[in-house]
């Protein structure tokens, strides 16, 4: 399959990339990992007149903890997230999610920031970033701005990024206390989109929950954050009563549709199950599920 012809630009500095974006006025697509863009171009669903390949822009490939945040550069690949010590030790939700994205070969190229920009309703990172109250940093010739992920993801394949802006970084708050996070994803086979994905994040101080995050994948036009469920946990901590209530509220927040991956009813049921399973795990009442256990046994995930 060949995509239609396009102009290829390979800027070697951020300034040059931003000038090109400005010049093409929305006619260009940014290429980072390319794991969504290139397939779309091959199918001719996307037919940009120019492709701006930012892979040669220096200074966009990093994972760094600064000022109480983890910063993830636009060229940081999913395989780098998996291999990061900071992620493994302090960001359990990211550590749980990254190995579940696509397959090892795709993870070698694909990026978290690119996934957010692509804004597929079945993208996993959108839910994770919503659960963690993450931000996207966008750069343009007129400066930089921070966009909360909840304002960034507008709808299917639609973000609030302007056509002259480049998403240069994603940020998530560092945990203040003891973090807990897990991403439960049901997929039919490796590399398939999620039938349902649920991101659960807790920042805890002793037995109280200072921040709770719950967000969903594959059950709506975009990833869905569940503030009502989060509030239940922040007010009441995690116990049998709040688990049931939060799981029920999350299931209510889902807007699933019946498709070849399952019925709407089934997907709603999965949301409820995944939320309660994650929360039970957080208080040591449910072992991490089989998939998570498999990850723990894998010393190196390629």
């Amino acid at each position: 399959m060949y995509p239609p012809r396009f102009h290829y630009e390979a800027p070697t500095s951020l300034d040059e990339a931003l000038q090109l974006l400005n010049m093409y006025q929305g006619e260009a697509k940014v290429l980072s990992g390319g794991m969504s863009l290139i397939p779309l171009m091959k199918l001719r669903f996307a037919t940009p007149s120019a492709v701006i390949d930012v892979n040669n822009v220096p200074g966009l490939d990093y994972l760094s903890e600064e000022s109480g945040e983890l910063r993830i550069g636009a060229l940081t690949r999913n395989r780098d997230i998996i291999r990061s010590d900071a992620v493994r030790t302090r960001y359990p939700l990211l550590a749980s999610t990254a190995p579940q994205i696509a397959d090892p070969l795709v993870r070698g190229r694909s990026t978290l920031v690119g996934s957010l920009c692509h804004c597929d309703p079945q993208g996993d990172w959108g839910a994770v970033m919503l659960a963690m109250n993450g931000d996207v940093v966008a750069a343009s010739m007129s400066g930089r701005r921070r966009i909360a992920v909840s304002d960034f993801l507008l709808g299917p394949f639609q973000t609030s990024l302007r056509s002259d802006e480049l998403a240069v970084e994603a940020r998530v708050p560092a945990p203040a206390g003891q973090p807990f996070g897990v991403y439960h994803k049901l997929e039919r086979k490796v590399g398939d989109f999620a039938t349902v994905g649920v991101a659960v994040y807790l920042d805890r101080s002793g037995s109280s929950v200072t921040t709770a995050g719950i967000a969903l994948t594959g059950v709506g036009g975009t990833n869905i954050k569940c503030p009502a469920a989060e509030q239940v946990l922040e007010r009441g901590g995690v116990n049998d009563h709040t688990i049931e209530e939060a799981a029920g509220l999350a299931a209510e927040a889902a807007k699933p549709q019946t498709d070849h991956r399952g019925s709407a009813e089934y997907k709603r049921h999965l949301v409820r199950t995944f939320v309660s399973r994650a929360l039970l795990t957080s208080i040591g009442r449910e072992p991490v599920d089989i998939r998570q256990r498999r990850f723990e046994n894998v010393r190196v995930l390629v």
Binding site: Y2, F6, A10, I38, N55, L105, R299
Partner: protein, 164 residues
């Protein structure tokens, strides 16, 4: 028609290549460079038959534009070893009957070689995870896993001899 001139190191040798930006890396490898050991399977980023190493990292070359390899290094199955001097992974596939139709084999071997580079003593689970982006249409996974384990043992033995 826009044509780009790029320099890419292919199996250790610098090559000057002219490609249209839309030419996929797999087509550049097969049709421009004439290295047909890299197979094009699904063309939809699913099967991994087209796997090559880009700067040592296994990638699906059907989901990469040829121009993106400018200034980089590609290893294809032709660069892994020679009939007279097989890579341990290639030997392992031979010894353990790690292939049936052979279509997925080049991609499988490159993924396996990259795994062993990073993790010289992988468990069966490590191997199965590492090749989870490479599909074998004959479903001959067990022997593929055996082949990679064979290669790991061979490499460890060679390493032991070298350090002794």
């Amino acid at each position: 028609m826009e044509v780009k001139q790029i320099t890419v190191t292919v199996n250790g040798e610098p090559r000057l290549v002219e490609v249209e930006p839309r030419t996929l890396c797999v087509h550049m490898i097969r049709e421009v460079l004439g290295l047909t050991g890299t197979h094009l399977g699904c063309d939809t980023t699913s099967c991994g038959a087209c796997t090559v190493l880009l700067d040592g990292v296994p990638v699906k070359s059907c989901t990469l534009f040829g121009v993106q390899t400018d200034g980089h290094e590609i290893t294809t199955v032709e660069g892994l070893g020679w009939p007279s001097e097989l890579h341990p992974v290639q030997e392992g596939f031979k010894e353990e009957h790690g292939l049936q139709c052979g279509f997925c084999t080049p991609g499988m071997m490159l993924t396996a070689a990259a795994l062993l580079e990073e993790n010289p003593d992988p468990s069966e689970l490590d191997i199965r995870w590492a090749i989870s982006g490479n599909l074998c249409r004959c479903t001959g996974y067990q022997n593929i896993v055996n082949a990679v384990q064979w290669a790991a043992r061979k490499m460890a033995a060679t390493e032991a001899v070298v350090s002794a």
